[in-house]
């Protein structure tokens, strides 16, 4: 899968070069925004930031209303069969999009790793060939086209300086799925390093899980809280005013813990930092 992804992203870069190379740029790049159910419901600000950022970079953003949730919460809790309908819905909603961009590493990882697995498991279970085929086709259609936001910026658009302004001290928490499933590497950092006014503070034990883990947070609350407390301690130690990440679900846990601790450190999605400009700081 990582192989096909690399190929896809290379194609994407070539295509963009072709588009830009053409006179007048009549052919504007158009992407489908997968905002995710969490952002849609609880963090619309992040979705709006992605729209504003991408439009500023000359990308046309489309929001298919048929979209909903990637299915990860169901699948990771043991209800994979219930996630199948959501996977088919995702594939149908973004059928016409060559690029799907999402401000969630975890949801992007679900699409890229989880979807092919859902299809594969259906085959192992001995489901009908037609069903397996339907699932595999849906997965195959979206796996190579789905990008986490920072991947899309760095790999497809080829930018690390998005012209952003954010005059605060910030520390960056690399989320587990971004770090270990998508392999985002230093993409988010490179983007943050180019933000004017932003001072990046190193987070000790950055690669350690914050303790969210979806339903883990409520099924094992004591351990989840202990992990969260260790994470927020490290965050507070940086002295940064804000903690940023590529996923609002982790930030909901981190931010909720910080807030309960009475800390003033603000959780902020990377999209909101990158969308800020001198005229308009989010």
């Amino acid at each position: 899968m990582s192989v096909s992804f690399t190929v896809a992203s290379r194609c994407g870069r070539m295509k963009r070069q072709m588009i830009i190379g053409r006179e007048g740029m009549s052919d504007v790049m158009r992407v489908g925004l997968f905002v995710t159910c969490v952002n849609d419901t609880l963090y619309p600000r992040t979705g709006r930031a992605v729209v504003s950022l991408l439009e500023r970079l000359g990308v046309e953003v489309d929001f298919p209303a048929a979209q909903s949730c990637c299915g990860q919460p169901l699948s990771n809790t043991g209800y994979r069969h219930r996630a199948e309908a959501l996977m088919l819905r995702y594939a149908a909603a973004f059928q016409g999009h060559e690029y799907v961009v999402t401000p969630s590493a975890s949801c992007a990882a679900m699409v890229r790793e989880g979807y092919p697995r859902i299809a594969a498991r259906a085959a192992v279970e001995g489901r009908s060939r037609a069903e397996v085929e339907r699932l595999s086709k849906a997965a195959a259609r979206v796996v190579t086209r789905t990008y986490e936001l920072t991947e899309f910026l760095v790999d497809v658009l080829g930018v690390t300086d998005v012209g952003a302004y954010f005059p605060h001290t910030v520390t960056y928490h690399p989320t587990c799925h971004g770090l270990r499933m998508l392999g985002l590497g230093d993409r988010p950092r490179r983007l943050l390093e180019h933000v004017r006014g932003l001072e990046l503070r190193e987070l000790a034990g950055a690669e350690e899980c914050c303790g969210f883990g979806g339903t883990f947070a409520v099924k094992n609350p004591a351990v989840s809280a202990a992990m969260g407390a260790d994470k927020t301690r490290a965050i507070r130690k940086t002295g940064a005013r804000a903690v940023c990440a590529v996923d609002n679900s982790c930030l909901m846990h981190i931010g909720g813990t910080l807030s309960r601790e009475g800390s003033g450190v603000r959780p902020v999605h990377i999209a909101e930092i990158l969308a800020g400009t001198e005229g308009r700081v989010l």
Binding site: P44, D62, F63, A65, Q67, L86, V124, R180, C209, S259
Partner: protein, 489 residues
């Protein structure tokens, strides 16, 4: 009689207790963080690590897919080299075989090399019931045995004990088992190691029977391999007259050459060394050198049930290095005992429910004892996709389904206590599949947002006891989009 894992509570309850134990948390944090950094360095020395890892996984997969073939080959070659092979379908049978073999020698004590599998089957208790005393000789196992405790780590069973606790255990209990601790014993690790050396030496010198496990068994040659550090393994493997090795059937590798992969992967993953101090290999018996009688007890005890699960069987690749424990944020806070078996940490969370079956609330809770952060998979030297198997087992817990118990295919019912969750997931799944309904819900919440509490009652407290809830925004993204970009819905 030592403590047992029987009747332990489900993971969240036990883990909550240990997460609140500050001494334990500090001990585990120091130990796991020390080894974590060292492992990373040891692995970084080899620029073909990923290729070794892929080969390590592939050789184990080949073995597992043809396990009957390789076990027969192993049996033939061990027998030809002068060993005797026994087969044990479960713990009780393995214990019976070993007890009988010890009794046949007329001895009433044995020395033991650290062995996970004999912990798994409860061999020491079985021997004790037959009037045979088993002396653990690995330093950490000794600490556990003297402290009447349970192991909490694969490599370092007494990881939950700090140095001063170990000193106290030695001072208090060594005399009950033989040579007492030296006068004025300090808590310097070197002094503690010296105390263990003195305490155990007399036992090594007089032992007539030893019990061991093995890290690898080579089918094509009948060779067994024990990888260790202290030399207690060498003592047990070479001084006594009779050696009994109890080994899980999944420890087989096809060829002598295959060891070139694992003897690179294991030490670096485990103790973060280029090579561990001692590795012993033996093939049957050797005239005038080492034990005159060698017995190999091949153990199933749930391994074939695990093998029957196409997704879960990768857990049988495990070479017990403990790298996954050392990087696991959940293990670090929950401690090993919460996992209720000799196999703690991420690997235990997928191995125990498969070896034992989903037979009690403990086993049913283990697949959920993970935030799915993926650190375990990243460090696993045989590429066991632990998060994937965890999710797979979660399905089995919440939905039931086909599984194999003691060799028989069975359909199990969903575990108790998930009824409400199932109903919730059904509703959630439906709502998410109907965006119009999702929108209605969002609008309802937005209207009531001022009245929504920051803390939840009832089951919601699991979240809001330590975390504030996010504020519900006045307008969902989809409503904003529709309002500003004009309904493309």
């Amino acid at each position: 009689m030592s403590r047992t894992y029987v009747g332990m509570p489900a993971f969240p309850r036990a883990a909550a207790v240990s997460a609140g134990d500050t001494t334990l948390r500090a001990n585990l944090r120091t130990a796991t963080h020390t080894i974590r950094a060292k492992r990373a360095e040891a692995v970084a020395e080899l620029d073909d690590w990923d290729r070794l890892r892929a080969a390590g996984a592939a050789v184990k997969d080949r073995t597992l897919r043809h396990l009957d073939h390789y076990l027969l080959q192993l049996e033939e070659n061990v027998t030809r080299a002068g060993g005797t092979v026994h087969w044990a379908a479960d713990a009780a049978e393995a214990n019976r075989i070993v007890t009988g073999l010890v009794q046949a020698t007329g001895e009433s004590e044995v020395v033991k090399v650290k062995s996970m599998v004999t912990q798994e089957i409860g061999l020491n208790d079985a021997l004790e019931r037959a009037g045979i005393r088993a002396y653990e000789t690995d330093l950490a196992e000794l600490i556990v045995q003297l402290g009447d405790d349970l192991p909490s780590h694969i490599l370092v069973p007494a990881i939950h004990r700090g140095r001063s606790e170990i000193r106290d255990i030695f001072r208090e209990h060594m005399a009950d088992w033989g040579r007492p601790a030296p006068e004025g014993l300090t808590d310097r690790p070197a002094d503690l190691a010296e105390a263990a050396r003195l305490h155990l030496r007399e036992k090594f010198l007089r032992a007539k029977v030893a019990v061991s496990g093995a890290n690898f068994m080579v089918a094509e040659t009948g060779t067994l391999v024990v990888v260790e550090s202290e030399g207690n393994g060498r003592m047990c493997l070479t001084l006594p007259d009779t050696l009994i090795s109890v080994v899980g059937i999944e420890k087989t590798v096809p060829t002598w050459r295959d060891l070139e992969i694992y003897l690179q992967l294991l030490p670096r993953s485990s103790t973060a060394e280029r090579m561990n101090p001692y590795t012993s290999t033996w093939t049957g018996t050797t005239a005038d050198d080492g034990p005159r009688a060698f017995h190999l007890v091949l153990l199933d005890n749930g391994r074939t049930d695990t093998l029957a699960d196409q997704v879960g069987r990768q857990a049988l690749r495990c070479i017990r290095c403990s790298a996954c424990l050392n990087v696991c944020p959940v293990y670090e806070r929950a401690g090993g005992h919460a996992y209720g078996s000799p196999y703690p940490g991420p690997i235990g969370a997928i191995l125990t429910p498969q070896l034992r079956g989903l037979t009690s609330p403990l086993e049913e809770s283990l697949p959920f004892a993970s935030s799915l952060c993926g650190a375990c998979y990243e460090v696993c030297p045989v590429a066991i996709d632990i998060p994937d198997v965890l999710v797979h087992l979660r399905e089995r817990v919440v939905q039931g389904g086909e599984t194999t118990i003691r060799g028989t295919r069975t359909v199990i019912k969903p575990a108790k206590g998930h009824t409400m969750e199932r109903a919730m997931m059904r509703t959630t799944g439906w709502v998410l599949d109907h965006p119009a309904a999702l929108r209605r819900g969002q609008r309802l919440a937005a209207r009531a947002r001022r009245a929504l509490p920051r803390r939840l009652p009832g089951p919601g407290r699991a979240w809001s006891d330590t975390r504030d809830l996010p504020e519900v925004p006045p307008e969902s993204f989809r409503d904003w989009w529709e309002r500003t970009r004009g309904g493309d819905a």
